[in-house]
């Protein structure tokens, strides 16, 4: 600040800094011992210019003045810390079932998986933005049905759901072979899952 600020300018600056609410010209003039509003206005204009390139701006809203963070730095006020986590086995399975069968209700997902699905699993998929509720099935109880989102296609690099390999392709790739128990153990099944296969099979 090469140029020395005037006394009034400094006083206005400090007063607005310490103020708990924005202040109008009259209020400032009164607070500073009954100054002429014109002088205060002049100081405000000077200050406004001084702060124009700074990280803080002096702004007027509805005749009242206050300091605020420069708009281009607003992101500094609310920082997001991202924590990347890999989707759990259970969540991946539920996601896969929704992707292949959508729209499906929770009961249908459970029936396909053969195990109960904890409430948190669907929440995680919705938090990730890959799954969304898609209305209700018009059957008794009107259960919520779920479907994948455009973000799901994005994240997994799919143009459409039709790009998902079909059952025959899965079989050809050996992905339908019974899972070796040792392998299954190595993949670390979630502890709350007990593999109790169910004969009912909606996928077929």
């Amino acid at each position: 600040m090469s140029e020395e600020p005037g006394t009034l300018e400094r006083a206005v600056e400090a007063t607005l800094f310490a103020a708990e609410t924005p202040m109008g010209v009259e209020a400032l003039a009164a607070h500073l011992g009954g100054l002429a509003p014109g002088d205060v206005r002049e100081a405000l204009v000077l200050l406004e210019a001084r702060y124009r390139n700074r990280g803080i701006h002096l702004v007027e809203r509805g005749g009242r003045w206050h300091f605020e963070t420069a708009p281009d730095l607003a992101h500094l006020l609310r920082r997001e810390k991202e924590q990347v986590r890999r989707l759990s086995r259970a969540a991946t399975e539920v996601l896969a079932i929704i992707a292949y069968h959508e729209p499906v209700s929770r009961a249908e997902i459970e029936s396909i998986r053969g195990v109960q699905t904890s409430a948190g699993t669907l929440d995680v998929l919705m938090e990730a933005g890959w799954v969304k509720p898609a209305g209700r099935r018009e059957v008794p109880g009107r259960p919520v049905i779920y479907a994948t989102t455009p973000d799901f296609l994005d994240h997994f690099g799919l143009a459409s759901r039709r790009d998902l390999p079909g059952i025959d392709e899965l079989r050809a790739a050996g992905l339908l072979d019974p899972v070796d128990e040792a392998l299954e153990a190595a993949m670390q099944f979630e502890p709350d899952e007990d593999s109790t296969p169910d004969d009912e099979n909606l996928a077929d």
């Binding site: 400090a14 800094f17 310490a18 103020a19 708990e20 609410t21 206050h66 300091f67 605020e68 963070t69 500094l76 006020l77 609310r78 920082r79 997001e80 810390k81 991202e82 924590q83 990347v84 986590r85 890999r86 989707l87 086995r89 991946t92 399975e93 996601l95 896969a96 079932i97 992707a99 292949y100 396909i112 998986r113 053969g114 995680v124 938090e127 990730a128 890959w130 994240h155 997994f156 690099g157 799919l158 998902l164 390999p165 059952i167 899965l170 790739a173 992905l175 339908l176 072979d177 019974p178 899972v179 593999s195 296969p197 169910d198 004969d199 099979n201 996928a203």
Partner: protein
């Protein structure tokens, strides 16, 4: 007056002209040491040069005149007065009769304590006189505040999804169980075979001798197990006996003499 060379001589009546001002209740002091410090300050000299003897007199004089003291509050002050009276008399005695610690040492100790308290009282004053937040300087009245939101970003990949689906399908697919047709020797045929072979001789026979000689290893294992059970069964019926010298030693069987074949 400079009392440096004669620290224990009587000082002029430094306190006396202010005696009326001093004539307050003791609530105004933070204890006897505080009152002493106040009195010492009235000598208007550096604390290192105060006359202890004069100070003692001022203190005793003050206590004497502050007649209407609250007794419980006064106790500390009276204890101090008694001690100071002792100190004064010791200081006035000839050096030779002085005890240990010497009155000079006691006086010096009192002086040092007053200096330290004085220093802290002054420091407190200077501290309180600094530009204090909320009184002289002010923080921003309405800071926007900084916030850090923690957000979980989930990661997965297409292969995991497809693989997971494959595993769900594989896990829940209807299963057909095939039981392989394995070569076995049933217990019945083993019984028949062992009892007919036992009928031939009364000698001990090793159990391996009962096994079909050209059988496959799998059938041999089954035959061994069945033959053993058959031998046990025959023994139970009283038609044979079994002996073995030790664990894993050859197992031998022979027909009992009086048993009918």
């Amino acid at each position: 007056m400079n009392a440096t060379d004669q620290p224990f001589m009587f000082a002029p009546d430094a306190g006396r002209q202010d005696a009326d001002a001093l004539y307050l209740e003791l609530d105004g002091w933070e204890g006897p040491l505080d009152l002493l410090l106040d009195l010492a300050r009235r000598q208007k000299v550096d604390l290192r040069q105060i006359s202890i003897l004069a100070l003692v007199d001022q203190y005793l004089n003050y206590i004497e005149r502050a007649g209407a003291l609250k007794l419980e509050l006064a106790a500390d002050y009276l204890v101090m007065a008694a001690w100071l009276a002792y100190l004064k008399s010791a200081m006035l005695l000839p050096k030779a009769e002085q005890e240990d610690p010497s009155p000079e040492e006691l006086a010096l100790r009192l002086q040092l304590r007053l200096q330290r308290l004085g220093a802290m009282r002054e420091a407190a004053g200077r501290l309180m006189g600094r530009d204090r937040i909320g009184r002289d300087v002010f923080l921003r009245g309405a800071p926007e505040g900084l916030r850090t939101d923690r957000k979980t970003v989930w990661r997965s990949d297409l292969f995991s999804v497809i693989q997971a689906y494959g595993q769900v399908k594989a896990r829940t697919a209807p299963r057909i169980y095939h039981v392989a047709n394995r070569p076995v020797m049933t217990l019945d045929s083993a019984l028949e075979r062992v009892s007919s072979m036992l009928g031939v001789t009364l000698e001990w026979m090793e159990i391996r001798d009962f096994l079909p000689p050209h059988a496959s290893p799998a059938l041999k294992r089954s035959a061994l197990a069945s033959s053993f059970v058959a031998a046990l069964e025959l023994t139970k019926r009283g038609r044979a006996e079994i002996e073995q010298d030790g664990a894993f030693a050859p197992l031998r069987i022979r027909r009992l003499k009086d048993a009918a074949a």
